[in-house]
Symmetry: C2
Subunit: 242 residues, 2 copies
DNA sequence: ACCTATTTTTGACATAAGTCAAGGCAGTGC
DNA sequence: GCACTGCCTTGACTTATGTCAAAAATAGGT
Protein backbone atom coordinates (compact mmCIF):
# COMPACT_ATOMS: atom_id res chain seq x y z
CA UNK A 1 0.00 0.00 0.00
CA UNK A 2 1.17 3.47 -0.74
CA UNK A 3 1.83 5.94 2.02
CA UNK A 4 -0.53 8.35 0.38
CA UNK A 5 -3.36 5.84 0.49
CA UNK A 6 -2.72 5.16 4.17
CA UNK A 7 -2.81 8.81 4.95
CA UNK A 8 -6.01 9.27 3.04
CA UNK A 9 -7.71 6.44 4.89
CA UNK A 10 -6.52 7.77 8.20
CA UNK A 11 -7.92 11.18 7.47
CA UNK A 12 -11.27 9.79 6.46
CA UNK A 13 -11.45 7.75 9.62
CA UNK A 14 -10.64 10.73 11.78
CA UNK A 15 -13.21 12.86 9.99
CA UNK A 16 -15.87 10.26 10.60
CA UNK A 17 -14.91 9.98 14.25
CA UNK A 18 -15.16 13.71 14.73
CA UNK A 19 -18.61 13.85 13.18
CA UNK A 20 -19.70 10.94 15.35
CA UNK A 21 -18.46 12.65 18.49
CA UNK A 22 -20.01 15.96 17.59
CA UNK A 23 -23.40 14.52 16.84
CA UNK A 24 -23.43 12.27 19.92
CA UNK A 25 -22.38 14.94 22.42
CA UNK A 26 -25.36 16.14 24.47
CA UNK A 27 -24.29 19.64 23.58
CA UNK A 28 -25.26 19.09 19.95
CA UNK A 29 -28.11 16.69 20.45
CA UNK A 30 -30.87 16.98 17.89
CA UNK A 31 -29.13 19.52 15.71
CA UNK A 32 -29.58 19.32 11.97
CA UNK A 33 -26.82 18.19 9.61
CA UNK A 34 -26.45 21.74 8.47
CA UNK A 35 -26.00 23.04 12.00
CA UNK A 36 -23.45 20.32 12.77
CA UNK A 37 -21.59 21.32 9.65
CA UNK A 38 -21.49 24.92 10.81
CA UNK A 39 -19.98 23.86 14.10
CA UNK A 40 -17.40 21.68 12.40
CA UNK A 41 -16.45 24.68 10.31
CA UNK A 42 -15.61 26.88 13.25
CA UNK A 43 -13.87 24.09 15.23
CA UNK A 44 -10.10 23.81 15.27
CA UNK A 45 -8.36 20.47 15.80
CA UNK A 46 -5.75 20.29 18.53
CA UNK A 47 -3.59 17.34 19.45
CA UNK A 48 -1.83 16.88 22.79
CA UNK A 49 0.55 14.27 24.20
CA UNK A 50 -0.13 12.77 27.59
CA UNK A 51 0.44 15.09 30.53
CA UNK A 52 0.27 18.32 28.54
CA UNK A 53 -1.38 21.47 29.82
CA UNK A 54 -4.37 22.61 27.76
CA UNK A 55 -4.98 25.76 29.74
CA UNK A 56 -4.10 27.18 33.12
CA UNK A 57 -6.15 28.91 35.76
CA UNK A 58 -6.56 32.63 35.03
CA UNK A 59 -5.58 32.19 31.38
CA UNK A 60 -7.68 34.32 29.10
CA UNK A 61 -10.51 32.38 27.58
CA UNK A 62 -10.86 32.59 23.79
CA UNK A 63 -13.10 29.59 23.49
CA UNK A 64 -13.78 26.14 24.83
CA UNK A 65 -12.90 22.53 24.04
CA UNK A 66 -14.58 19.26 23.22
CA UNK A 67 -12.83 15.93 23.80
CA UNK A 68 -12.76 13.81 20.63
CA UNK A 69 -10.36 11.18 21.97
CA UNK A 70 -8.31 10.82 25.12
CA UNK A 71 -8.93 12.08 28.62
CA UNK A 72 -8.57 15.44 30.31
CA UNK A 73 -8.50 16.35 33.98
CA UNK A 74 -9.75 19.66 35.34
CA UNK A 75 -8.09 20.55 38.62
CA UNK A 76 -7.13 23.27 41.02
CA UNK A 77 -3.91 23.60 42.98
CA UNK A 78 -3.63 24.96 46.50
CA UNK A 79 -0.86 27.26 47.63
CA UNK A 80 1.15 24.36 49.03
CA UNK A 81 0.84 22.52 45.73
CA UNK A 82 -1.91 20.15 46.84
CA UNK A 83 -3.96 19.30 43.79
CA UNK A 84 -7.69 18.69 43.71
CA UNK A 85 -9.33 17.17 40.66
CA UNK A 86 -12.73 18.64 39.88
CA UNK A 87 -13.63 16.55 36.83
CA UNK A 88 -12.25 14.04 34.41
CA UNK A 89 -13.67 14.30 30.91
CA UNK A 90 -13.65 11.78 28.08
CA UNK A 91 -14.84 11.65 24.43
CA UNK A 92 -17.93 13.75 23.77
CA UNK A 93 -17.58 16.00 26.83
CA UNK A 94 -17.12 19.72 26.42
CA UNK A 95 -15.01 21.62 28.95
CA UNK A 96 -14.04 25.19 29.59
CA UNK A 97 -17.43 26.45 28.39
CA UNK A 98 -18.11 28.40 31.54
CA UNK A 99 -15.88 31.42 30.94
CA UNK A 100 -17.15 31.65 27.36
CA UNK A 101 -20.41 32.97 28.79
CA UNK A 102 -19.36 34.44 32.09
CA UNK A 103 -16.77 36.39 30.11
CA UNK A 104 -13.99 35.73 32.57
CA UNK A 105 -10.77 33.79 32.74
CA UNK A 106 -10.50 30.04 33.20
CA UNK A 107 -11.32 29.10 36.79
CA UNK A 108 -9.18 25.94 36.87
CA UNK A 109 -6.42 24.08 35.07
CA UNK A 110 -6.81 21.47 32.33
CA UNK A 111 -4.27 18.76 31.56
CA UNK A 112 -4.40 15.68 29.36
CA UNK A 113 -4.18 12.29 31.10
CA UNK A 114 -3.68 10.51 27.78
CA UNK A 115 -2.66 11.44 24.27
CA UNK A 116 -5.73 13.45 23.28
CA UNK A 117 -7.48 14.94 20.33
CA UNK A 118 -9.52 18.01 21.18
CA UNK A 119 -11.71 20.37 19.21
CA UNK A 120 -11.27 24.01 20.05
CA UNK A 121 -14.33 26.22 19.51
CA UNK A 122 -13.40 29.89 19.35
CA UNK A 123 -15.59 32.11 21.40
CA UNK A 124 -16.74 34.81 18.95
CA UNK A 125 -17.84 32.35 16.28
CA UNK A 126 -19.66 30.22 18.82
CA UNK A 127 -21.50 33.16 20.35
CA UNK A 128 -22.65 34.15 16.86
CA UNK A 129 -23.79 30.63 16.18
CA UNK A 130 -25.70 30.32 19.41
CA UNK A 131 -27.49 33.64 18.96
CA UNK A 132 -28.91 32.30 15.72
CA UNK A 133 -29.73 28.77 16.84
CA UNK A 134 -32.26 28.56 19.68
CA UNK A 135 -32.05 24.77 19.80
CA UNK A 136 -28.30 24.91 20.25
CA UNK A 137 -28.66 27.35 23.10
CA UNK A 138 -31.26 25.16 24.75
CA UNK A 139 -28.83 22.22 24.54
CA UNK A 140 -26.13 24.35 26.01
CA UNK A 141 -28.43 25.37 28.86
CA UNK A 142 -29.20 21.72 29.53
CA UNK A 143 -25.50 20.80 29.63
CA UNK A 144 -24.65 23.59 32.01
CA UNK A 145 -27.61 22.66 34.19
CA UNK A 146 -26.44 19.08 34.37
CA UNK A 147 -23.02 20.26 35.45
CA UNK A 148 -24.53 22.43 38.12
CA UNK A 149 -26.50 19.47 39.35
CA UNK A 150 -23.36 17.35 39.53
CA UNK A 151 -21.60 20.09 41.45
CA UNK A 152 -24.49 20.23 43.89
CA UNK A 153 -23.99 16.54 44.59
CA UNK A 154 -20.23 16.99 44.90
CA UNK A 155 -20.60 19.83 47.39
CA UNK A 156 -23.11 17.85 49.37
CA UNK A 157 -20.69 14.94 49.49
CA UNK A 158 -17.74 17.06 50.47
CA UNK A 159 -19.46 18.99 53.19
CA UNK A 160 -21.79 16.60 54.89
CA UNK A 161 -20.28 13.21 54.38
CA UNK A 162 -17.06 11.57 55.41
CA UNK A 163 -14.65 9.93 53.01
CA UNK A 164 -16.09 6.37 53.27
CA UNK A 165 -19.52 7.72 52.33
CA UNK A 166 -18.11 9.64 49.38
CA UNK A 167 -16.27 6.59 48.17
CA UNK A 168 -19.32 4.34 48.53
CA UNK A 169 -21.45 6.83 46.66
CA UNK A 170 -18.84 7.07 43.90
CA UNK A 171 -18.59 3.30 43.52
CA UNK A 172 -22.34 2.89 43.20
CA UNK A 173 -22.44 5.74 40.71
CA UNK A 174 -19.65 4.14 38.66
CA UNK A 175 -21.37 0.76 38.64
CA UNK A 176 -24.53 2.40 37.28
CA UNK A 177 -22.61 4.40 34.72
CA UNK A 178 -20.55 1.50 33.45
CA UNK A 179 -23.57 -0.82 33.56
CA UNK A 180 -21.37 -3.84 34.18
CA UNK A 181 -23.43 -5.29 37.00
CA UNK A 182 -21.45 -5.31 40.21
CA UNK A 183 -18.06 -5.02 38.55
CA UNK A 184 -16.39 -1.66 38.43
CA UNK A 185 -13.20 -0.70 36.65
CA UNK A 186 -11.32 2.40 37.68
CA UNK A 187 -10.32 4.34 34.60
CA UNK A 188 -8.06 6.55 36.70
CA UNK A 189 -5.33 5.81 39.20
CA UNK A 190 -6.20 5.48 42.86
CA UNK A 191 -4.21 8.60 43.57
CA UNK A 192 -6.38 10.54 41.15
CA UNK A 193 -9.50 8.98 42.61
CA UNK A 194 -8.40 10.16 46.04
CA UNK A 195 -8.05 13.68 44.71
CA UNK A 196 -11.46 13.49 43.04
CA UNK A 197 -12.98 12.46 46.37
CA UNK A 198 -11.25 15.32 48.15
CA UNK A 199 -8.79 13.21 50.11
CA UNK A 200 -5.28 11.70 49.82
CA UNK A 201 -4.07 8.30 48.56
CA UNK A 202 -3.19 6.99 52.05
CA UNK A 203 -6.67 7.58 53.40
CA UNK A 204 -8.29 6.07 50.32
CA UNK A 205 -6.10 3.00 50.59
CA UNK A 206 -7.02 2.48 54.23
CA UNK A 207 -10.72 2.82 53.54
CA UNK A 208 -10.61 0.41 50.61
CA UNK A 209 -8.88 -2.07 52.91
CA UNK A 210 -11.57 -1.59 55.57
CA UNK A 211 -14.38 -2.08 53.06
CA UNK A 212 -12.64 -5.23 51.91
CA UNK A 213 -12.49 -6.58 55.45
CA UNK A 214 -16.20 -5.91 55.89
CA UNK A 215 -17.07 -7.75 52.69
CA UNK A 216 -18.55 -4.67 51.11
CA UNK A 217 -16.22 -4.84 48.11
CA UNK A 218 -13.43 -6.94 46.68
CA UNK A 219 -10.48 -5.04 45.28
CA UNK A 220 -8.05 -6.41 42.74
CA UNK A 221 -5.92 -3.63 41.37
CA UNK A 222 -8.23 -1.39 39.40
CA UNK A 223 -11.02 -3.93 39.32
CA UNK A 224 -13.50 -3.66 42.13
CA UNK A 225 -16.41 -5.99 42.70
CA UNK A 226 -19.34 -4.71 44.72
CA UNK A 227 -20.27 -7.52 47.11
CA UNK A 228 -22.98 -5.72 49.05
CA UNK A 229 -24.67 -2.98 47.14
CA UNK A 230 -27.26 -2.27 49.81
CA UNK A 231 -24.53 -1.95 52.38
CA UNK A 232 -22.70 0.52 50.17
CA UNK A 233 -25.82 2.56 49.55
CA UNK A 234 -26.50 2.73 53.27
CA UNK A 235 -22.93 3.78 53.85
CA UNK A 236 -23.29 6.50 51.24
CA UNK A 237 -26.28 7.81 53.19
CA UNK A 238 -25.35 7.33 56.82
CA UNK A 239 -21.63 7.76 56.59
CA UNK A 240 -20.25 5.56 59.35
CA UNK A 241 -17.96 2.67 58.39
CA UNK A 242 -18.06 0.37 61.45
CA UNK B 1 -56.85 59.01 53.34
CA UNK B 2 -59.22 56.37 52.13
CA UNK B 3 -58.37 52.72 52.41
CA UNK B 4 -58.95 52.34 48.71
CA UNK B 5 -56.39 55.01 47.94
CA UNK B 6 -53.88 53.34 50.21
CA UNK B 7 -54.39 50.03 48.51
CA UNK B 8 -54.01 51.60 45.12
CA UNK B 9 -50.75 53.28 46.07
CA UNK B 10 -49.45 50.08 47.53
CA UNK B 11 -50.18 48.14 44.38
CA UNK B 12 -48.50 50.71 42.20
CA UNK B 13 -45.43 50.64 44.41
CA UNK B 14 -45.24 46.87 44.24
CA UNK B 15 -45.66 46.92 40.48
CA UNK B 16 -42.81 49.37 40.12
CA UNK B 17 -40.63 47.31 42.43
CA UNK B 18 -41.23 44.17 40.41
CA UNK B 19 -40.32 45.88 37.16
CA UNK B 20 -37.18 47.29 38.78
CA UNK B 21 -36.15 43.88 40.02
CA UNK B 22 -36.84 42.20 36.73
CA UNK B 23 -34.93 44.71 34.69
CA UNK B 24 -31.97 44.80 37.09
CA UNK B 25 -31.55 41.04 37.40
CA UNK B 26 -28.59 39.81 35.35
CA UNK B 27 -30.93 37.24 33.87
CA UNK B 28 -32.84 39.94 32.06
CA UNK B 29 -30.03 42.35 31.42
CA UNK B 30 -30.34 44.32 28.23
CA UNK B 31 -33.76 43.01 27.27
CA UNK B 32 -36.20 45.34 25.57
CA UNK B 33 -39.28 46.74 27.31
CA UNK B 34 -41.39 44.45 25.20
CA UNK B 35 -39.44 41.37 26.23
CA UNK B 36 -39.61 42.36 29.90
CA UNK B 37 -43.35 42.73 29.51
CA UNK B 38 -43.61 39.24 28.08
CA UNK B 39 -41.79 37.86 31.08
CA UNK B 40 -43.96 39.77 33.50
CA UNK B 41 -46.97 38.28 31.77
CA UNK B 42 -45.95 34.69 32.37
CA UNK B 43 -44.70 35.30 35.93
CA UNK B 44 -46.88 34.45 38.90
CA UNK B 45 -46.56 36.30 42.22
CA UNK B 46 -46.06 34.19 45.32
CA UNK B 47 -45.82 35.40 48.89
CA UNK B 48 -44.29 33.43 51.76
CA UNK B 49 -43.93 34.01 55.48
CA UNK B 50 -40.57 33.55 57.14
CA UNK B 51 -39.41 29.95 57.46
CA UNK B 52 -41.72 28.54 54.80
CA UNK B 53 -40.71 25.85 52.36
CA UNK B 54 -40.75 26.93 48.72
CA UNK B 55 -39.83 23.52 47.33
CA UNK B 56 -38.28 20.32 48.57
CA UNK B 57 -35.59 18.11 47.14
CA UNK B 58 -36.99 15.69 44.56
CA UNK B 59 -40.16 17.75 44.07
CA UNK B 60 -41.20 17.92 40.45
CA UNK B 61 -40.04 21.08 38.80
CA UNK B 62 -42.67 23.09 36.95
CA UNK B 63 -40.66 26.24 36.78
CA UNK B 64 -38.23 28.43 38.66
CA UNK B 65 -38.31 31.46 40.95
CA UNK B 66 -36.95 34.97 41.17
CA UNK B 67 -36.60 36.78 44.49
CA UNK B 68 -38.36 40.15 44.45
CA UNK B 69 -38.07 40.80 48.19
CA UNK B 70 -36.88 38.78 51.14
CA UNK B 71 -34.27 36.06 51.38
CA UNK B 72 -34.22 32.38 50.48
CA UNK B 73 -31.81 29.64 51.49
CA UNK B 74 -31.02 26.65 49.32
CA UNK B 75 -29.87 23.68 51.37
CA UNK B 76 -29.45 19.96 51.55
CA UNK B 77 -30.07 17.72 54.54
CA UNK B 78 -28.02 14.65 55.40
CA UNK B 79 -29.54 11.44 56.63
CA UNK B 80 -28.92 12.38 60.27
CA UNK B 81 -30.62 15.72 59.73
CA UNK B 82 -27.45 17.77 59.42
CA UNK B 83 -28.19 20.70 57.14
CA UNK B 84 -25.80 22.29 54.69
CA UNK B 85 -26.62 25.60 53.07
CA UNK B 86 -25.54 25.82 49.43
CA UNK B 87 -26.65 29.40 48.70
CA UNK B 88 -28.55 32.30 50.11
CA UNK B 89 -30.35 34.41 47.54
CA UNK B 90 -31.72 37.94 47.81
CA UNK B 91 -33.66 40.37 45.57
CA UNK B 92 -32.90 39.94 41.88
CA UNK B 93 -31.51 36.41 42.12
CA UNK B 94 -33.17 33.56 40.28
CA UNK B 95 -33.12 30.10 41.82
CA UNK B 96 -34.31 26.65 40.88
CA UNK B 97 -33.50 27.24 37.20
CA UNK B 98 -31.32 24.18 36.91
CA UNK B 99 -34.02 21.50 36.67
CA UNK B 100 -35.93 23.63 34.18
CA UNK B 101 -33.27 22.75 31.63
CA UNK B 102 -31.89 19.50 32.92
CA UNK B 103 -35.50 18.29 32.96
CA UNK B 104 -35.18 16.68 36.37
CA UNK B 105 -36.44 17.21 39.88
CA UNK B 106 -35.18 19.85 42.29
CA UNK B 107 -31.73 18.86 43.60
CA UNK B 108 -32.06 20.69 46.94
CA UNK B 109 -34.53 22.37 49.30
CA UNK B 110 -35.55 26.02 49.32
CA UNK B 111 -36.87 27.85 52.37
CA UNK B 112 -37.53 31.53 53.09
CA UNK B 113 -35.39 33.17 55.77
CA UNK B 114 -37.62 36.25 55.81
CA UNK B 115 -41.09 37.15 54.68
CA UNK B 116 -40.55 36.97 50.93
CA UNK B 117 -42.10 37.92 47.64
CA UNK B 118 -41.15 35.62 44.80
CA UNK B 119 -41.98 35.45 41.12
CA UNK B 120 -42.69 32.02 39.81
CA UNK B 121 -41.86 31.43 36.13
CA UNK B 122 -43.64 28.35 34.77
CA UNK B 123 -41.44 26.11 32.75
CA UNK B 124 -43.33 25.66 29.46
CA UNK B 125 -43.90 29.36 28.93
CA UNK B 126 -40.30 30.15 29.73
CA UNK B 127 -38.93 27.52 27.38
CA UNK B 128 -41.07 28.99 24.61
CA UNK B 129 -39.86 32.45 25.42
CA UNK B 130 -36.22 31.48 25.44
CA UNK B 131 -36.43 29.62 22.15
CA UNK B 132 -37.59 32.84 20.55
CA UNK B 133 -35.24 35.25 22.27
CA UNK B 134 -31.56 34.58 21.64
CA UNK B 135 -30.49 37.43 23.89
CA UNK B 136 -32.48 35.99 26.77
CA UNK B 137 -30.85 32.62 26.31
CA UNK B 138 -27.41 34.21 26.23
CA UNK B 139 -28.19 35.93 29.52
CA UNK B 140 -29.37 32.67 30.96
CA UNK B 141 -26.17 30.99 29.83
CA UNK B 142 -24.15 33.71 31.51
CA UNK B 143 -26.06 33.32 34.78
CA UNK B 144 -25.61 29.57 34.85
CA UNK B 145 -21.94 29.96 34.01
CA UNK B 146 -21.50 32.34 36.90
CA UNK B 147 -23.11 29.85 39.22
CA UNK B 148 -20.83 27.10 37.97
CA UNK B 149 -17.87 29.35 38.63
CA UNK B 150 -19.05 30.02 42.17
CA UNK B 151 -19.49 26.32 42.76
CA UNK B 152 -15.97 25.69 41.51
CA UNK B 153 -14.68 28.09 44.13
CA UNK B 154 -16.86 26.51 46.81
CA UNK B 155 -15.63 23.01 45.99
CA UNK B 156 -12.06 24.20 45.95
CA UNK B 157 -12.57 25.76 49.37
CA UNK B 158 -14.27 22.73 50.84
CA UNK B 159 -11.77 20.21 49.60
CA UNK B 160 -8.40 21.81 49.82
CA UNK B 161 -8.71 24.38 52.55
CA UNK B 162 -9.43 24.25 56.25
CA UNK B 163 -12.16 26.20 57.96
CA UNK B 164 -10.05 29.28 58.88
CA UNK B 165 -9.05 29.64 55.23
CA UNK B 166 -12.65 29.34 54.06
CA UNK B 167 -13.77 31.92 56.58
CA UNK B 168 -11.00 34.35 55.65
CA UNK B 169 -11.82 33.97 51.99
CA UNK B 170 -15.51 34.54 52.69
CA UNK B 171 -14.84 37.68 54.74
CA UNK B 172 -12.67 39.21 52.04
CA UNK B 173 -15.28 38.32 49.44
CA UNK B 174 -18.02 39.92 51.53
CA UNK B 175 -16.00 43.09 52.04
CA UNK B 176 -15.56 43.40 48.28
CA UNK B 177 -19.20 42.68 47.60
CA UNK B 178 -20.55 45.10 50.17
CA UNK B 179 -17.99 47.73 49.18
CA UNK B 180 -17.96 49.16 52.71
CA UNK B 181 -14.21 49.34 53.06
CA UNK B 182 -13.03 47.10 55.85
CA UNK B 183 -16.41 46.83 57.55
CA UNK B 184 -18.49 43.76 56.95
CA UNK B 185 -22.02 43.08 58.08
CA UNK B 186 -23.31 39.53 58.25
CA UNK B 187 -26.77 39.38 56.73
CA UNK B 188 -27.22 35.86 58.07
CA UNK B 189 -26.80 34.32 61.50
CA UNK B 190 -23.47 32.84 62.51
CA UNK B 191 -25.05 29.42 62.60
CA UNK B 192 -26.11 29.82 58.98
CA UNK B 193 -22.67 31.13 58.08
CA UNK B 194 -21.16 28.03 59.65
CA UNK B 195 -23.39 25.85 57.52
CA UNK B 196 -22.50 27.83 54.39
CA UNK B 197 -18.80 27.29 55.16
CA UNK B 198 -19.37 23.58 55.64
CA UNK B 199 -18.80 23.54 59.39
CA UNK B 200 -20.71 23.94 62.69
CA UNK B 201 -21.39 27.00 64.89
CA UNK B 202 -18.99 25.92 67.65
CA UNK B 203 -16.04 25.66 65.30
CA UNK B 204 -16.89 28.97 63.64
CA UNK B 205 -17.14 30.67 67.01
CA UNK B 206 -13.74 29.39 68.08
CA UNK B 207 -12.09 30.48 64.87
CA UNK B 208 -13.62 33.95 65.04
CA UNK B 209 -12.26 34.20 68.59
CA UNK B 210 -8.80 33.14 67.42
CA UNK B 211 -8.79 35.64 64.59
CA UNK B 212 -9.79 38.29 67.07
CA UNK B 213 -6.87 37.44 69.35
CA UNK B 214 -4.49 37.69 66.42
CA UNK B 215 -5.81 41.10 65.45
CA UNK B 216 -6.95 39.92 62.06
CA UNK B 217 -10.51 41.03 62.67
CA UNK B 218 -12.67 42.69 65.30
CA UNK B 219 -16.05 41.11 65.90
CA UNK B 220 -19.03 42.92 67.41
CA UNK B 221 -22.13 40.82 66.94
CA UNK B 222 -22.81 40.75 63.25
CA UNK B 223 -20.45 43.58 62.50
CA UNK B 224 -16.94 42.55 61.65
CA UNK B 225 -14.06 44.89 60.98
CA UNK B 226 -11.18 43.59 58.92
CA UNK B 227 -8.02 44.78 60.69
CA UNK B 228 -5.47 43.05 58.50
CA UNK B 229 -6.63 42.39 55.02
CA UNK B 230 -3.29 41.09 53.79
CA UNK B 231 -3.15 38.68 56.68
CA UNK B 232 -6.62 37.42 55.84
CA UNK B 233 -5.76 37.00 52.18
CA UNK B 234 -2.66 35.03 53.10
CA UNK B 235 -4.72 32.90 55.42
CA UNK B 236 -7.20 32.25 52.63
CA UNK B 237 -4.31 30.99 50.51
CA UNK B 238 -2.07 29.15 52.95
CA UNK B 239 -4.64 27.89 55.37
CA UNK B 240 -2.80 27.76 58.68
CA UNK B 241 -4.05 29.93 61.54
CA UNK B 242 -1.02 30.04 63.88
C1' DA C 1 -38.94 46.08 81.63
C1' DC C 2 -39.59 41.39 81.86
C1' DC C 3 -39.70 36.68 80.43
C1' DT C 4 -38.78 33.40 76.88
C1' DA C 5 -36.59 31.49 73.09
C1' DT C 6 -32.92 31.56 70.26
C1' DT C 7 -28.21 32.24 69.28
C1' DT C 8 -23.52 32.25 70.64
C1' DT C 9 -19.71 30.96 73.41
C1' DT C 10 -16.84 27.84 76.21
C1' DG C 11 -15.00 23.52 77.94
C1' DA C 12 -13.87 18.55 77.98
C1' DC C 13 -13.61 14.88 75.00
C1' DA C 14 -13.66 11.67 70.79
C1' DT C 15 -12.35 10.78 66.22
C1' DA C 16 -11.61 11.26 61.26
C1' DA C 17 -8.25 12.32 58.44
C1' DG C 18 -3.75 14.43 57.29
C1' DT C 19 1.62 14.10 57.69
C1' DC C 20 5.82 11.75 57.64
C1' DA C 21 8.48 7.85 56.74
C1' DA C 22 9.36 3.30 55.23
C1' DG C 23 8.45 -0.80 52.77
C1' DG C 24 6.13 -3.69 49.08
C1' DC C 25 4.62 -4.60 44.39
C1' DA C 26 4.28 -4.27 39.44
C1' DG C 27 5.71 -2.91 35.09
C1' DT C 28 9.56 -1.29 31.97
C1' DG C 29 13.84 -1.20 29.94
C1' DC C 30 18.60 -2.74 29.94
C1' DG D 1 18.02 -11.58 35.55
C1' DC D 2 18.35 -6.93 37.58
C1' DA D 3 17.75 -2.28 38.73
C1' DC D 4 14.67 1.52 38.18
C1' DT D 5 10.48 4.02 38.52
C1' DG D 6 5.94 4.92 39.75
C1' DC D 7 2.10 3.46 42.41
C1' DC D 8 0.12 1.59 46.34
C1' DT D 9 0.06 0.13 51.18
C1' DT D 10 1.12 0.23 56.16
C1' DG D 11 2.42 2.14 60.64
C1' DA D 12 3.14 5.76 64.21
C1' DC D 13 1.94 10.20 65.19
C1' DT D 14 -0.40 14.95 65.06
C1' DT D 15 -4.03 17.90 64.38
C1' DA D 16 -8.32 19.86 62.92
C1' DT D 17 -12.83 19.46 63.58
C1' DG D 18 -16.97 17.30 65.25
C1' DT D 19 -19.88 15.86 69.59
C1' DC D 20 -21.97 16.63 73.90
C1' DA D 21 -23.24 19.54 77.58
C1' DA D 22 -23.81 23.74 79.88
C1' DA D 23 -23.38 28.64 80.57
C1' DA D 24 -23.72 33.30 78.69
C1' DA D 25 -25.48 36.65 75.66
C1' DT D 26 -28.80 38.41 72.58
C1' DA D 27 -33.19 39.23 70.42
C1' DG D 28 -38.30 39.17 70.37
C1' DG D 29 -42.74 39.54 72.12
C1' DT D 30 -46.07 41.05 75.58
Amino acid sequence: MSKIGDNFNKKRKIMKKILDIISQAPLFNGLSQEQLGQIRQIAIDKFYDKGKTVFMESDDCNGFYIVVAGKVKIYKVSFEGKEHILHIYGPGNPFGEVPVFSGRKFPANAETLLRSHLLFIPRPAFVDLISENPSLSLNMLAVLSMRLRQFTVQIENLSLKEVPARLASYLVYLADEQATGDFVFLTISKGQLASLLGTIPETLSRILAKMNKQNLIQVEGRNIKLLNRNGLEELAQHGKLQ
